[in-house]
């Protein structure tokens, strides 16, 4: 019987967070700290002609001003050379601040003012004057779709079957274009770092989703061995993908610290976050669906084009997951990008999937109307238990149960399919549904588990907790498999002194790091059994490891009353601790299967026919993503996903003035995300799957999954309510008049 797994556990870091004891990157106290404030460009493309820092340098408290004119060139590579495994990232083309006079995007950093206080630095930043040789920026994806390219032209999209012919021959088809604007993550905590040097050793407190990624980026930036860099990031106030790729400020902060030989802190303003990290790119999609009159899909053609920067080829995998969702014999999908004079995009919660599924699941709704088949029925008709590309069976896929349960809870059968047929007083009522899909990924990850003879355990891994509850779930897993009370387990993360873990992204942390802790705990149990077996009285002499378990400080022979006190055993052997450092890797077994996490979403909207204002009054989300380790934090993830989906559907858009290539709403007054008054009833449910193929814990991705179907479900509900098909997000009141 599990003691912790599957039971509600409150966040182990909750108390520290609400009392302010949890320290975020910019909050660490470092003596003799100098403050940096970034100055950004006012043009979108061209070169800096001159930059005058005289007045800024003279302002009170100013220590210095860094610009491309005095920014040190990094030293030649230092010995020892990077290790091969550290080398994966050498083609890091991410934007680096102040290295030249070139302007690649508007609000690009052009100077860093360093002062004794933040206010002094911020004030002096206003005194830096730049002149430019200005060129016309190109920032509008939709006017340059013809310039779209594949990231890897040598690998053109591979069709499944013969989609073009199948499309031409089909009796029923729909074809439409969908657009999604640039969106920004807007986590509460602004990105920031504190950096200081001790000789050629660099320490950086950073807001990061992966301290090893930042370490590698800094090591290559300064040509120093990665071992010389320590990156620390114990708490993150939300990131959602914005701290996955290397951002420019850690290297800038570290360089400033090197130049003035003092610790330096740099924190983005909200405005600077809009170009200081990536964003969900502006995406244009076209979906063509064809079906037999029975509803069976015969062709899917899905093209996606997104904007990138002018210096990186960033392509969203918009079409990858949608392509696998339905049993459609003929399919052709492609994802391309267009160079624009913007900063580089980045993954943003459910990257690619939520964009692609918005298009596909709206198109499915359009097809359902064309066929006069219920939208849920249409999805069931095209359900597949195998990956239509590889033919491999899914290791588990309880999506049918999600559809069934969601429909029942929602009352879907009472839906009158006729648009504008349902009302609540003056308000038009619409019901819509869509499917969610995400991966069940696992990445190589390591953890260190130390069982101590004093009855406690220390567990560490250089993963991150950007909010989902990683501290809690890792504590829970360690407590379960070491057989300890959770209060006796201390789990630490976010430090390059800990064993290597992947970034926190892709919803693979519990599968990856959790598996490492689980397997390390198994190893510890083996070590304890070996230790016990050295003693004559051991009850395990003939036992197999599977016959034992750790429970309440004892190694127990299952199904018997025989056990050994493990802490007494350790003390008898003079072992203050037993340590296992373990790397867990995806199993071979996985390769025989297709894997994925799924969900079904049903929403109700009420639309004011006079003003076009949409409210999402009810949302039911049913999710199948393997084993639910901690229902409390898991529900939070899914609820958060629904809220985000509501924002994406109705509110979020980064507005660019293409004349200047400048973002005009880089703040939370003009960039809207949902507020409490926008959120009504949300009910989330899980259909648990027992799947030991995906990883030993049987867990799948959930943090991103929760939002994937929501924008489409809302757009479909809006169509049902109003008869208007809005294919361009967000669905603001003006579009419904």
């Amino acid at each position: 019987m599990a003691r912790y797994i599957g039971k509600e556990m409150s966040r182990v870091d909750g108390f520290a967070k609400v009392t302010g004891r949890a320290k975020y990157a910019a909050e660490f106290k470092v003596p003799n700290l100098a403050y940096g404030f970034i100055v950004t460009s006012t043009i979108g493309k061209g070169t800096i002609r001159s930059i005058d820092t005289t007045e800024a340098s003279r302002a009170p408290g100013v220590i210095g001003v860094l610009t491309h004119e005095n920014y040190p060139k990094p030293a030649p590579p230092a010995a020892p050379e990077l290790k091969p495994e550290e080398n994966r990232n050498v083609r890091d083309k991410s934007f680096r601040a102040l290295v030249s006079n070139q302007i690649f995007f508007n609000m690009q950093p052009i100077a860093l003012v360093l002062a004794e206080s933040f206010e002094q630095a911020r004030y002096a930043a206003r005194l830096v004057r730049a002149t430019y040789n200005e060129e016309k920026p190109m920032t509008d994806l939709e006017s340059s779709l013809d310039k779209a390219r594949l990231a890897n032209p040598s690998r053109p999209p591979r069709p499944r079957g013969n989609p073009t012919e199948a499309f031409a021959a089909a009796p029923v088809k729909v074809e439409a274009e969908y657009t999604i604007p640039i969106e920004h993550h807007n986590p509460m905590e602004p990105h920031g770092a504190i950096a200081f040097w001790e000789g050629d050793k660099l320490t950086v407190f950073d807001k990061s989703q992966g301290v090893y990624v930042v370490r590698q980026h800094l090591a290559t930036s300064f040509h120093i061995p990665p071992e010389n860099v320590q990156v620390i990031s114990p708490f993150v106030g939300g990131a959602f993908g914005s701290a996955l790729r290397p951002n420019y400020y850690p290297a800038l902060t570290a360089m400033a610290a090197r130049v003035i030989q003092r610790p330096v802190k740099v924190v983005y303003t909200r405005q600077q976050m809009f170009t200081g990290h990536g964003y969900r790119p502006h995406t244009w999609q076209k979906v063509s669906l064809a079906a037999e009159r029975s509803g069976k899909l015969t062709a899917l053609i899905h093209d996606s084009k997104n904007n990138s920067s002018s210096f990186e080829d960033y392509v969203e995998n918009t079409t990858g997951m949608p392509r696998t969702l339905y049993a459609c014999p003929n399919a052709l999908t492609s994802a391309q990008f267009v160079h624009t004079d913007m900063s580089t995009p980045a993954p943003m919660r459910a990257p690619g999937a939520v964009s692609g599924m918005f298009a596909l699941e709206c198109a499915m709704d359009e097809l359902a109307y064309a066929l006069q088949i219920d939208p849920l029925e249409l999805r069931l008709i095209n359900f597949t238990d195998v990956d239509p590309d590889s033919g491999k069976p899914y290791s588990s896929k309880a999506l049918r149960e999600c559809y069934r349960l969601g429909a029942e809870k929602f009352g879907w059968s009472k839906r009158n399919p006729e648009p504008r047929s349902m009302r609540d007083g003056r308000l038009l009522v619409g019901w819509g549904m869509a499917t969610g899909i995400w991966g069940a990924f696992q990445q190589p990850a390591s953890a260190r588990v130390a069982l101590k003879s004093d009855g406690t355990a220390h567990v560490s891994s250089a993963t991150a907790d950007i909010g989902p509850g990683t501290y809690t779930v890792m504590t829970l897993i360690a407590a379960e498999y070491l057989g300890l009370n959770a209060e006796k387990v201390k789990f630490e993360l976010g430090d390059t002194r800990f064993p290597r873990a992947p970034v926190q992204g892709g919803s693979f942390t519990t599968a990856s790091v959790g598996s490492a802790i689980y397997e390390a705990a198994q190893n510890i149990r083996q070590k304890l059994m070996d230790l016990a077996n050295k003693e004559a009285s051991s009850p395990f002499k003939t036992a197999k490891i599977e016959d034992t378990e750790l429970l309440d400080g004892k190694l127990v022979l299952k199904g018997s009353s025989q056990s050994v006190d493990i802490f007494a055993l350790m003390r008898r052997n003079n072992l203050p601790e037993l340590v296992d450092v373990h790397e867990a890797r995806p199993s071979r077994e996985r390769e025989k299967y297709a894997t994925g996490a799924h969900g079904a979403q049903f929403v109700e909207v009420k639309v004011d026919p006079a003003t076009g204002v949409v409210q999402v009054t009810r949302a039911i989300e049913v999710t199948a993503c393997g084993k639910i380790m901690n229902p409390k934090t898991s529900h939070s993830q899914e609820i958060g996903g629904v809220v985000w989906g509501i924002g994406m559907a109705l509110q979020e858009a980064t507005e660019v003035d293409h004349r200047y290539g400048r973002i005009m709403n880089p703040n939370l007054q003009h960039y809207h995300v949902p507020v409490s008054a926008d959120i009504h009833e949300i009910e989330t449910m899980f259909v648990e799957e027992d799947d030991k193929v995906v990883n030993p814990l049987g867990v799948k991705g959930m943090g991103e999954l929760g939002m994937v179907g929501i924008p489409a479900a809302i757009a479909n509900a809006v169509f049902h309510a109003t008869g208007k098909r809005i294919r361009d997000l967000p669905i603001t009141p003006d579009k419904l008049l």
């Binding site: 206003r126 003035d657 507020v675």
Partner: protein, 330 residues
């Protein structure tokens, strides 16, 4: 932020004198607008005179109506029994604004004086005649979805973004201001804000250093039939795309008096006397309301991205009048 001199005002006339003596001085009340703009370097006062502790927060009945202190908080004003009973339109309008936290800080005087939410005004890298006279208007041919459709000029297409003032226009309020000579001047609210013309840097007709001390509203018979409708991109904490302050007084089955004020469509609250004229003497029908709405928007000149405001404005007027008739509370 630029450094500035800070002082706490002891009495209103002194405050008016201090500010009027320095062309770059500013009053500070709740600070919810001024401080934000100072951080953005849009406002750069060399001196800030804190009036928030002046004894100007009373709300009291007068011989012909109500007097509301300039420094009364928005939340205290909206929730005051006299306001709720006699001027529910004002209460509704205030409560439609900002968020509870902001309304607890924001004062009535500051609210009247709040500046536009035009994105170009906020970004010192962009041209803006209001912030930097002569630099051009970034919004005119730029992003202007939230901008004016009425009364704008080539020089500025910004809107006055507030909610409270729309109700004050409908309620024939008067703004009481203190001058440096210690005497008060009364400004009818419809003469308070300005249209941009060729001086968009001037939002209103207050002389530099004049201090708003109170808002006075005469008695009226609108309490039973008034409504504030605010259409916005999200349910709270957002400025209006379009708002309507509507008030009706009936005689028998016919409309005796009417007020129709549109918000967020012009550089000032847009009271449409034409729309009101259509209503007067008529029975309450949808057709009457629609005719009134047509009259209100007849001169609208939308820009590239805000054409929707014309239709939305009309529909909002009809809806607000209907709700006013039904005596709903927003």
């Amino acid at each position: 932020m630029k450094s500035f001199k800070y002082s706490v005002a002891k009495e209103p006339t002194g405050a008016a004198r201090t500010v009027s003596a320095n062309p770059t001085a500013k009053f500070l009340a709740g600070g919810t607008n001024l401080v934000d703009l100072m951080k953005e370097y849009v406002e750069r006062p060399s001196e800030v005179v804190d009036v928030s502790r002046l004894n100007l927060a009373q709300i009291r009945e007068t011989s012909n109506g109500i007097s509301i202190g300039a420094l009364a908080k928005n939340s205290d004003t909206a929730n005051h029994p006299l306001v709720r009973q006699n001027y529910p339109l004002l209460s509704m309008a205030i409560l439609a604004g900002a968020s509870a936290q902001l309304r607890n800080m924001a004062t009535n005087g500051g609210n009247l004086m709040q500046r536009t939410r035009c994105q170009y005004f906020y970004d010192t890298a962009m041209p803006c005649n209001k912030r930097e006279p002569g630099s051009g208007c970034g919004a005119l041919e730029g992003l202007n979805r939230i901008h004016a459709i009425l009364g704008h000029s080539e020089n500025c297409v910004a809107t006055y973004p507030g909610d409270m003032a729309n109700a004050l226009y409908a309620l024939d309020a008067t703004i009481r201001v203190r001058g440096t000579n210690g005497r008060d001047r009364l400004i009818p609210v419809q003469d308070f804000h300005r249209l941009p013309g060729d001086t968009p840097q001037k939002d209103n007709n207050l002389a530099h250093g004049e201090l708003i001390v109170a808002i006075e509203i005469p008695r009226n018979n609108f309490a039973a039939k008034s409504y504030y409708l605010k259409v916005r991109d999200r349910a709270s904490y957002a400025f209006a795309l379009v708002s309507v302050a509507a008030a009706l007084e009936m005689r028998g089955d016919a409309i005796e008096r009417a007020r129709v004020v549109l918000g967020s469509v012009a550089h000032k609250p847009w009271r449409s006397v034409e729309a009101e004229r259509v209503l007067i003497g008529k029975p309450v029908t949808v057709e009457t309301f629609e005719a009134s709405a047509e009259a209100a928007l007849k001169d609208a000149k939308p820009l590239e991205h805000n054409g929707y405001k014309v239709e939305l404005g009309k529909r909002s007027i009809v809806l607000a009048l209907q709700r006013a008739m039904s005596g709903e509370v927003a």
